[in-house]
C-alpha cells in the first residue's frame, strides 16, 4: 500500500505536449520533491482529454478538479495551495462566461453533450500501463468472446449493434467480417488502418496514443471473428508517439499472454506487429495500404478483388479503421442493444470528431450519431469566437464538402450528410468564419488532393490539375462563367472515372462550394472582387486620409516603396505597384489602412484604358 492520496492526471496527448505538458511534468516532480510530497502524489500521463485548445490541461483526483492552460509558473502555487492546503486554484479553472468557476470536468459544457464510448478511457488512464486498462474492464470483452462465444456469434452481435466503419466509407462492419470469416483460404490477416491522413483529423491518433489497448483488444476480437492469425497496425510515420504507444501495448499484451498462443485457453492464437507509413496520404486507401505493407509503392489497385478475398500477399484480409476497432470491446461487454440505442436509424453509436478551425473549443469530442451540426459546433464546440460569424463547415476533409448555416440543423449521420453533398469522412470538422473565402478554401483542399494523387490514373492526375488551374484563374481575377461550368463538368467526370477513393472524392470540396457558394465564385469572376478579402489580386489596400496622421511609417515599411505623401497631404498608395503584402496595414499606428474588396478604382480605369487602346 502506498501513501498516495492525490492522482494528478496530466494530459500528454500531442496537443498538450505541443503546448508544453512535459515541462509541467518536470517542474511538478521538482516541486513535489522539494516539498517532500513525492510519495503522496501520483503523476499519471494520460492521452488526450479532449479540449486541446486549453492545453496543457490536467485533472486532479480525488476531487476531479480540472485545470487548463497550466504554465510552469503555476506549479509552485498548485502544490502549495491545492496539494498541501487543499485550496484548488480558481485561476486555473474554466469560468462560465467569466463568472463562476467550473471545478470538475462534469460541469464543463464542452463535455455535457458528449458520450464517450471509444474515448471512454482516453484522458483517464495511463496508456502505457496495461494494468490500468485492465482495471477499467479491459480485455474482459475479449475473454468473453473467446470463452463464451463462437466467431459467428460475435459477428451476429456486431450486426445487431449496427456498427459501421469509421474510416470514412461507413461500410457495415459485420458484413466485411463475414466475408473474411467465410473465406476458406488460410492464413488470413487483419490490418488496423491508422494512416489517418485527412488534414484536420486526429481521432485515430488520439485513440492510439490515449488508449492503445482498446484498439488492440478490438483487433483481437475482430481477428477471432474472422479467423485471422496475425495482424498489422499500419500507423503513419507522422505519429511517432502513437507508434511508440501501440508498440508498447503489443509488447505488454504479449508479456501477459494476451497475444500469442492459446489465448484464454481457447485455442485461438494471434500475433500483431506495427508497421509505419512514410508520408503518403493515398496509403490510407486499403489496397494502397496493403501494397505499402508489402514493401512497395503505396499505389491503389482496382477493386474488385476486394481485400476480403485478395488482400495482403493475396490472402483474405480484413481492413478496419482504428475507431471501428475501438468500439468493439464496449459492444461485446454492454451488448448490441445498448450500442444501437444511440444514434439514428441507419447510423448507430457514437462518433469521434476533431473540431478545428474558427471554433472556440477546438479538440477531440465524441457525440452520439444524429445530433445536429448546430449542437456539435455551437454547444459542444462553444460556437465561434466573439464577434465572428459562422460561414461554413467542412466535413470529411479533402474528400468531403462544405455546408453552410442553412444546414446547421442537419443530423450527423452517414446518409444525411451525403445527401447534402458533404460526408462523415473520418471525422475532421473544420469550422470557418466569415473571414474565409470559399473559392480559396476549395482551391486549397484541391491542392492537397492534387499533391497527394499517386498519379496512377489520368482523370485524377490530369483532371485535378486542370481544375486547380481554373481555380487559380478565378482567384486571380481571370475567370469566366464558362470556366465555372467547365469546373463542374470536370469535377463530375473525375469523380466517375478515377480508380480510387482519392480521385473519386477530390472534387467534392469544389463541387459543394459551387453548390452553396456560387455567388461568391460569380463575384470573383464578374466583379473581380473577393468579398471575404482573401484573394490578393481581387482586393486592394486603401489609406483613409481622414484617419491618416501622416507619420510616414507605412511608406517607410512598404517593401516596394509605393506609398507617397507628406504630413500635410497625408499618404496614398500607388495601386499599380502594390504587391498586397499587408505590411502597411500592420504597421499603421492609427488603423487608417484597410483592405477593400475588388480591384481599386484607379486600376480599373487603367485596365479599361489599356483595353480600349488595344482594341480600338
Amino acid at each position: 500500500m502506498s501513501l498516495k492520496h492525490i492522482d494528478v492526471l496530466l494530459c500528454c496527448g500531442s496537443g498538450c505536449v505541443s503546448a508544453g505538458a512535459l515541462k509541467i511534468r518536470e517542474k511538478l516532480e521538482q516541486v513535489l520533491t522539494e516539498n517532500h510530497l513525492q510519495d503522496e502524489v501520483n503523476i499519471i500521463e494520460t492521452g488526450c482529454m479532449g479540449p486541446c485548445d486549453y492545453g496543457p490541461v490536467m485533472l486532479i483526483y480525488p476531487e476531479g478538479v480540472f485545470y487548463k492552460h497550466v504554465k510552469v509558473e503555476d506549479v509552485e502555487d498548485m502544490v502549495q495551495e491545492h496539494f498541501i492546503k487543499g485550496r484548488p486554484l480558481q485561476r486555473l479553472m474554466l469560468h462560465e462566461d467569466e463568472g463562476t468557476p467550473l471545478v470538475t470536468k462534469s460541469e464543463i459544457p464542452f463535455y455535457r453533450k458528449q458520450k464517450k464510448v471509444a474515448l471512454a478511457n482516453c484522458g483517464y488512464i495511463d496508456p502505457e500501463k496495461i494494468g490500468e486498462y485492465i482495471a477499467v474492464g479491459g480485455y474482459e470483452a475479449l475473454g468473453k468472446a473467446l470463452t463464451e462465444m463462437t466467431p459467428e456469434q460475435v459477428i451476429d452481435v456486431i450486426k445487431r449493434s449496427g456498427l459501421r466503419g469509421r474510416g470514412g466509407g461507413g461500410f457495415p462492419t459485420w458484413l466485411k467480417w463475414q466475408l473474411v470469416n467465410q473465406n476458406p483460404v488460410q492464413p488470413k490477416y487483419i490490418i488496423c488502418n491508422g494512416d489517418e491522413g485527412d488534414p484536420g483529423a486526429f481521432m485515430d491518433r488520439s485513440l492510439l496514443e490515449g488508449d492503445p489497448h482498446r484498439v488492440l483488444e478490438g483487433m483481437l476480437i475482430a481477428a477471432y471473428s474472422t479467423g485471422a492469425s496475425s495482424g498489422y497496425f499500419y500507423i503513419r510515420a507522422e505519429y511517432p508517439l502513437a507508434i511508440k504507444r501501440i508498440k508498447k501495448a503489443v509488447q505488454d499484451a504479449r508479456d501477459l499472454g494476451l497475444l500469442g498462443d492459446d489465448i484464454f485457453g481457447s485455442g485461438f492464437s494471434f500475433t500483431a506487429e506495427v508497421r509505419t507509413g512514410a508520408g503518403a496520404f493515398v496509403c490510407g486507401e486499403e489496397t494502397a495500404l496493403i501494397s505499402s505493407i508489402e514493401g512497395r509503392r503505396g499505389q491503389p489497385n482496382p477493386k474488385p478483388p476486394y481485400p476480403s478475398t485478395f488482400g495482403l500477399w493475396g490472402k483474405p484480409t480484413l481492413v478496419n479503421n482504428v475507431e471501428t476497432l475501438a468500439n468493439l470491446s464496449a459492444i461485446i461487454q454492454k451488448g448490441p442493444d445498448w450500442f444501437a440505442s444511440m444514434g439514428t436509424e441507419t447510423s448507430k453509436g457514437t462518433k469521434v470528431f476533431a473540431l478545428t478551425g474558427d471554433v472556440k473549443n477546438t479538440g477531440l469530442v465524441e457525440v452520439p450519431m444524429g445530433i445536429t451540426l448546430q449542437e456539435l459546433i455551437f454547444e459542444v464546440g462553444g460556437g465561434l469566437a466573439a464577434g465572428k460569424k459562422f460561414k461554413a463547415v467542412q466535413l470529411g476533409g479533402p474528400s468531403g464538402g462544405c455546408l453552410t448555416s442553412e444546414h446547421l440543423d442537419t443530423r450527423i449521420d452517414y446518409e444525411s450528410l451525403r445527401e447534402k453533398g458533404a460526408m462523415m469522412g473520418s471525422g475532421g470538422v473544420i469550422v470557418m468564419d466569415d473571414s474565409n473565402c470559399m473559392v480559396n478554401v476549395a482551391k486549397y483542399f484541391l491542392e492537397f488532393s492534387l499533391e497527394e494523387s499517386c498519379g496512377k490514373c489520368t482523370p485524377c492526375r490530369v483532371g485535378l490539375k486542370e481544375m486547380h488551374s481554373i481555380l487559380e484563374k478565378i482567384t486571380r481575377g481571370e475567370g469566366t462563367i464558362e470556366l465555372l461550368n467547365q469546373l463542374e463538368v470536370l469535377g463530375k467526370s473525375i469523380k466517375e472515372l478515377s480508380l480510387c477513393g482519392l480521385g473519386q472524392a477530390a472534387p467534392n470540396p469544389v463541387l459543394s462550394t459551387l453548390r452553396y457558394f456560387r455567388s461568391e465564385y460569380e463575384e470573383h469572376i464578374l466583379s473581380r472582387s473577393c468579398p471575404s478579402l482573401v484573394c490578393q489580386e481581387l482586393l486592394h489596400y486603401h489609406i483613409d486620409k481622414e484617419k491618416c496622421i501622416g507619420c510616414s511609417l507605412c511608406a517607410r515599411k512598404c517593401p516596394v516603396q509605393c506609398i507617397f505623401g507628406s504630413r500635410e497631404d497625408k499618404y496614398e498608395i500607388t495601386q499599380a505597384d502594390c504587391v498586397k503584402c499587408g505590411t502597411c496595414q500592420e504597421v499603421c499606428p492609427v488603423g487608417a489602412i484597410s483592405r477593400f474588396p475588388g480591384v481599386s478604382a484607379d486600376l480599373r480605369q487603367d485596365t479599361a484604358a489599356e483595353f480600349t487602346k488595344l482594341y480600338k
Binding site: P199, E238, R275, A278, G363, M432
Partner: protein
C-alpha cells in the same frame, strides 16, 4: 555497415520501409545515400530500381543530405486557415534558407508536410519528433534558439 538495423529485420521485402526509416533516422544527416540503397538491395535481394521507386513515392525519405534537425511545417488546410503561410514566412526569414534547404551551420532543414494531427493547436510544426503548436513569431524564435543552444 547497417548490421545493427538488419538484426531487427529479416531479409524480406516487407521490411523495406522500416529498414529505410531506420537508415535515415540513424544517419546524422537524415538521408539515404546511393551506397545505402545498394547495400539494402543486396540484403533484401531486390533490385535497386524497386528501392528507388519506393524512395521517390514516399515523401518522408530524402536522398539528399539534410540538417541535424528537420523542421516540418504543416501546410494542410486547417493550419493554412490558421495562418501557416505567415509562419512559413517567419521561418524562412529566421533561418535564412529557402524551402527544402539546410542552414549553413548544418543544423536545420526546412520542409513542409501534411497534417500532423494536432490541428487543435494550429499552426503547428514538428522538429525531429517533437510537435510545437500555437506558433507565433516569438515562439518560433525561442524554439529555434533552444535548438541552436544545443538543448533540444
Amino acid at each position: 555497415m547497417y548490421e545493427e538495423i538488419y538484426i531487427k529485420y529479416s531479409p524480406e521485402q516487407e521490411n523495406l520501409i522500416s529498414i529505410l526509416h531506420d537508415i535515415q533516422d540513424s544517419h546524422p544527416q537524415h538521408y539515404i545515400s546511393e551506397e545505402a540503397i545498394r547495400e539494402v538491395s543486396e540484403y533484401l535481394r531486390i533490385p535497386v530500381s524497386h528501392i528507388q521507386g519506393v524512395l521517390t513515392f514516399y515523401t518522408m525519405y530524402s536522398t539528399r543530405p539534410r540538417g541535424k534537425y528537420i523542421i516540418r511545417l504543416c501546410e494542410s488546410p486547417p493550419c493554412f486557415l490558421a495562418g501557416s503561410e505567415k509562419i512559413l514566412a517567419i521561418l524562412l526569414r529566421v533561418l535564412g534558407v529557402k524551402l527544402g534547404e539546410t542552414t549553413g551551420d548544418g543544423l536545420f532543414t526546412l520542409e513542409l508536410c501534411a497534417c500532423l494531427g494536432v490541428c487543435g493547436n494550429a499552426p503547428v510544426m514538428m522538429i525531429s519528433d517533437t510537435v510545437y503548436g500555437d506558433l507565433n513569431e516569438e515562439k518560433i524564435i525561442s524554439i529555434i534558439e533552444k535548438y541552436q543552444g544545443g538543448q533540444a
